[in-house]
């Protein structure tokens, strides 16, 4: 019967119920979309790393996986690595950030094909000059870029020479030499990492160990599988902190929305609370009613939020697939529900206690 009373209360004030649930839903959507975006970016980076076809990455010693954005590795290491036993190819890559979450990769395409195998072009072909630029299909679609068009990046005009499938090394690929010149990494020639292809992929662990001994901490060798496994939120303290902040904000928003909704409901229903008390409802029963209302608001908000997050993903992936890759993260659905419920419960506590403490006679006299 109490459940029926709760549902009827919510139905009777359906506009407020809907608006409260909607705001909770927006909060849920924000969490899921941001998590989806974070995971999307990480997944995309991992896919690109895998798409390179390398067996081993060589990167600056003691450097974070996600700090490959400048030339910290002297290119002179490349011939040394290339002549080691079982190394079929060693390809230098310079990675330079060009947009908020996008980088430009400088690499010799012929060299790269020794690692990736033959590159497939959706349009156009390989660079013929130093100012030629390859873009991936998402960037081309989002920006309606065709072969032959000029694109300005890093204060430099690039001619789009080809469109490649997404997931190959990076969104933008240009000749290494020109990128080194534009970013001050030409003298001495510096790069971000070296991609290594082995003649026998089964020797990866052995070669990682061997290279690490050889390079004595100047460079760190890491296998593809180990490298890809680092593309998770747990490996990035800054991202974890960001998600933590978003979670706290969401709880606060949920708390405020439900607090306001419940507080108004308690004031509006003062007389009803008096009636319930006269009928023998204990303070805990009154609190229980409001807590159940808050939980239902949170669950409704969560359902709305799930729907909104799918809508947001669809919109983002339709219009900004290159800039903001969003993925669905079902693991976060129960977490988002818990966040919504915690916010709602916190919001229901004060109004609930106020209602529970309400004097029955004063409440019955309330007009």
């Amino acid at each position: 019967m109490i459940n029926k009373l709760v549902l009827e209360n919510l139905k009777a004030r359906w506009v407020r119920t809907f608006l409260s649930a909607l705001v909770v839903g927006v909060q849920v959507m924000s969490i899921l979309t941001l998590i989806g975006l974070s995971d999307g970016l990480l997944e995309q980076s991992a896919n690109r790393a895998k798409g390179s076809g390398a067996d081993i990455f060589l990167k600056p010693g003691a450097q974070n996986t996600f700090s490959l954005s400048s030339g910290q590795v002297l290119q002179k290491f490349v011939p040394l690595v290339a002549k080691q036993p079982h190394v079929a190819a060693a390809v230098p890559v310079l990675i330079v950030p060009v947009q908020v979450v996008t980088s430009m990769n400088g690499v010799d395409l012929t060299e790269l094909e020794r690692v990736t195998g033959r590159i497939r072009f959706l349009e156009g072909g390989p660079p013929k000059g130093l100012d030629d630029l390859l873009v991936d299909e998402y960037y081309a679609k989002q920006n309606k870029v065709r072969v032959g068009r000029t694109v300005r990046m890093l204060n430099h005009d690039w001619r789009v020479c080809g469109v490649i499938p997404a997931g190959l090394l990076g969104r933008f690929i240009v000749p290494l030499q020109r990128l080194q010149q534009l970013t001050g990494n030409a003298e001495p020639a510096r790069i971000s990492q070296i991609l290594i292809k082995l003649d026998d992929p089964a020797l990866v662990n052995q070669e990682v160990e061997y290279l690490n001994q050889l390079l004595k901490g100047n460079l760190q060798a890491i296998s593809m599988s180990a490298f890809v496994s680092q593309f998770s939120m747990n490996s990035i303290p800054e991202l974890k902190a960001f998600v933590g902040v978003i979670t706290v904000i969401s709880v606060v928003v949920g708390f405020l929305v439900v607090f306001l909704s419940m507080y108004t409901a308690v004031v509006e229903r003062t007389r009803e609370i008096g009636i319930l008390k006269a009928l023998g409802a204990k303070p805990l029963t009154i609190l229980d009613i409001l807590v159940r209302e808050a939980i239902i608001l949170a669950i409704l908000g969560w359902i709305i939020g799930l729907g909104l997050s799918f809508a947001a993903k669809t919109i983002v992936m339709t219009f900004l697939p290159a800039s903001l890759p969003v993925v669905t993260v079902p693991d976060w659905w129960p977490i988002a529900a818990a966040i919504a419920i915690v916010g709602a419960l916190l919001g229901a506590v004060y109004p609930g206690l106020k209602a529970a403490r309400q004097d029955a006679i004063e409440a019955l006299a309330y007009e």
């Binding site: 019967m1 109490i2 029926k4 009373l5 009827e8 209360n9 139905k11 009777a12 007389r271 009803e272 008096g274 009636i275 319930l276 008390k277 006269a278 009928l279 023998g280 409802a281 204990k282 303070p283 029963t285 004097d359 029955a360 006679i361 019955l364």
Partner: protein
Amino acid sequence: MVSAEKSSGLEMIRVRGLTKTYHAGDVDVHALRGVDLDVARGEFLAIIGPSGSGKSTLFNILGGLTPPTDGQVWIDGVDLRGLSESQRTEMRQRKIGFVFQKYNLLPTLTARDNIALAQNLSHRNAPPPGFDEILQMLGIKDRLGRRPRALSGGEQQRVAIARALVTQPAILLADEPTGNLDTENSVAVLNILRDLNMRNRQTILMITHNPEAAAYADRIVAIRDGEMHDA
């Protein structure tokens, strides 16, 4: 002062030396000044008095909604003195049925659910035996699916009476039950209260300022300036 008297157990309500003082700022308002009252089992008693006489305060104390400042009250043999709020709530669940002037039905629930909620709050799984006949007598059986706003004032008050009776209370406390009704509905409600009292031996204590309504009771007492007088 509290006397050491005990309830004989024969009365449904026994009140001795009841006082209630409200503090309004620096001023003490003495709403009740040493009230003594006995209501026998199965009695229909009307308490009549003008506004501000203390009758509503007496109603609230007898209903366990507020504690007295001093004095003793026994309801069905239970001494209200020293009961905590939680214990008074339980006493209300078990022994008291309220009928208010403004009906006080929950607007979001149907008449049936209003009655069921009272039953649920008193931890009863089903209406008491014979409750169907009470609904029949109240004439609301075909109105149970409606919400209060779809009922007339008289119908709402009859639903409120049904809600009060579903817990099989020892006492039915009615505060101005006809105060918001027209003459025809007032007569109907008063006849129902009298029938309940006569057929079911339901103890009823009715507060009213209307002598015509009070005339339906077995006995009338008057309250003036917080003191009881024979009517």
